[in-house]
Amino acid sequence: MNDPTPRRLLLLDHYADGEDARHFSLRIDLPLAADLAVIPGQFFMLSVPGVGEAPFTYVSLPDRSGRFTALIRRMGTLTEALFAQPVGAVLGYRGPFGKGWPLFFSAKRVLVVAGGCGLAPLAGVIDEAISHYLPQRLSLIYGARNADAQVLRRERAEWQQRLPMIETLDEAPVGMRQGSPLQHFGELFAATPPDAVLCCGPEPLMLATAEACLKRGLSSDKVWLSLERRMHCADGLCGHCYLGPSYVCQDGPTYRYDRFLQLQSRYSARPGLQDHNFC
């Protein structure tokens, strides 16, 4: 049976990490064995009691003491209330939920494409590549609006030393790469054509990335996206996160692109009125 009641989650610490974004250190009170089984790309439901509950992704995964971190941007009522919580506050936790990123045992070269806060759900994959060389070669391209909007400052500083990584900004200062990650695909694909691509960012960026990969000869079953949807129950029941006949909280948020296309064509999500900015 599902349990809609959260468990206690303690707010340990936080620091500013990008425009209006904070990197939170959290601890699940009385962690269970299952809490160690989180796969990068999965998400948890965070409650601010009295305000509500919303899905967020893990940056570092829960350890034996239940500690993990999450990058959260102030965006609406719930995050506004979260940012007002003092260190030591008791929050609510449910999770993990959904499908994470695929584990690569065969793909040798994986390209990670991230935009804005979309870097957060990919952090676990990048860390795994660094610590286990799985996949053998992972490279990262990260786009953001401007330097202030870049997140995961500390992590990027480490990744910079450990793997091939490109950062690009819409509004770039002199000496930095400019433009969307897509504008550098020619170069990336010429240097090391990837066997697989993982992408997370604003939906238009992900769709454009997937199409750009297809144009360069990658098949649609080699590209993965992580979708954002409004979610309330995370049990596939409340109905809010639908994508055609699929519920993103259970079947996603990670979708292989061929499956995503199939879901879209079955009962058309139309290219709607979408915000093209990085979140």
């Binding site: 809609p4 009691p49 109905g239 639908y242 079955r266 979408q274």
Partner: protein, 340 residues
């Protein structure tokens, strides 16, 4: 095969079942409305099986319109489960029972739904005539109560002088009859049910628009402009989703509780509301009313949902036609989408 008994009066069965259960039956409220109402074992009122289904199905008995999920006292979370007592719903139409079976499957892992459901005995009643605008025959949800959707089934007779028949459809139904002495039925009740079904199917007609609409919806031949035109007529009032016996969307609601505590409830929601999918960033995958109307009907008639639930999400009760102020209930929509 189901066991069948002869029943002189359905009120006798009702009084028996109400002895140790809270019993609910649809009754007129004296002000022009009909509702599910509590009926005691001593109640002498006649059981009136209306041809028209009640304005609200049995949905809210299990999927409560408002449900407490937990309380938080500032330090700890306390689960809240509903306090359930054994209950019986007396005289449920076949279509509504198919909807309950559909939701049983959907909410299989939901503890609140299941707690209420497991405490409930369902007494169905066959329809001898079609309601206005119903099309259960097309969707295989009536007029005869499906044996696997009820515990007991009442079968009224065309000839009013004859006794009613009572069919036992489950072990719980059999146990509930304990202490009630009923003679076995001595007529060909199977043949009667088949004849009733034929009669109702004939009254409902071919429902050409609905079947053509289902085909169009699944072969992706409906232009976006058709949905957009229908969307213009949607007021986002949630009438259809409230009365639909299979609709199941909900939203959480956090509120203060007691002195220092807070609580979370869940309340019925509607996929036709503009903000149903709107994210905190403002991104809204179904910002257009046409998209939301399309979603609603795809959920009811899409083959992908049928694959999962082994039937369509519409049971043909016609309630959406009755409540929609924009005329885009099931027949209104299926008429438009089936036009070529």
């Amino acid at each position: 095969m189901m066991q069948a008994f002869s029943l002189d009066r359905p009120e006798r069965l009702r009084a028996h079942l109400a002895l140790d259960r809270a019993l609910y039956e649809v009754r007129a409220d004296g002000q022009g409305g009909t509702h599910w109402q509590h009926v005691s074992a001593k109640d002498l009122g006649a059981f009136e099986h209306a041809v028209e289904p009640p304005p609200f199905s049995a949905k809210s008995f299990f999927f409560a319109e408002r449900e407490l999920l937990f309380r938080f006292d500032g330090g700890r979370f306390y689960s809240a489960m509903p306090e359930v007592t054994p209950q019986v719903l007396f005289g449920v139409h076949a279509c509504d029972l198919v909807a309950v079976a559909y939701q049983d499957r959907f909410f299989a892992a939901d503890p609140h739904y299941q707690a209420r459901r497991r405490a409930t005995l369902l007494v169905g009643v066959d329809c001898l005539h079609s309601c206005q605008g119903g099309f259960c025959s097309l969707l295989d949800s009536g007029p005869a109560v499906h044996g696997d959707s009820a515990d007991l089934i009442l079968l009224p007779r065309g000839d009013e002088a004859s006794d009613w028949l009572l069919l036992v459809a489950s072990e719980a139904g059999r146990n509930a009859l304990h202490g009630l002495r009923l003679p076995p039925a001595e007529c060909d009740w199977q043949a009667e049910r088949v004849a009733n079904s034929h009669c109702v199917a004939a009254e409902q007609g071919e429902q050409q628009e609905v079947s053509a609409g289902i085909v169009a919806l699944n072969n992706d031949s409906i232009a976006d402009t058709v949905w957009d035109a229908l969307g213009l007529r949607c007021l986002g009032c949630s009438g259809c989703t409230s009365v639909c016996p299979t609709c199941s969307c909900f939203a959480p609601l956090d509120r203060p509780s007691g002195q220092d505590g807070v609580q979370r409830e869940r309340v019925w929601d509607s996929c036709l509301y503009e903000g149903f999918q709107r994210e905190a960033s403002g991104h809204n995958p179904s910002a257009g009313p046409g998209q939301r109307v399309q979603r609603f009907w795809t959920h009811k008639f899409g083959d992908a949902f049928k694959e999962r639930f082994e039937r369509y999400g519409c049971v043909g009760c016609g309630r959406c036609d009755r409540v929609c102020p924009g005329g885009i209930g099931v027949h209104g929509v299926m008429h438009k989408v089936s036009l070529r």
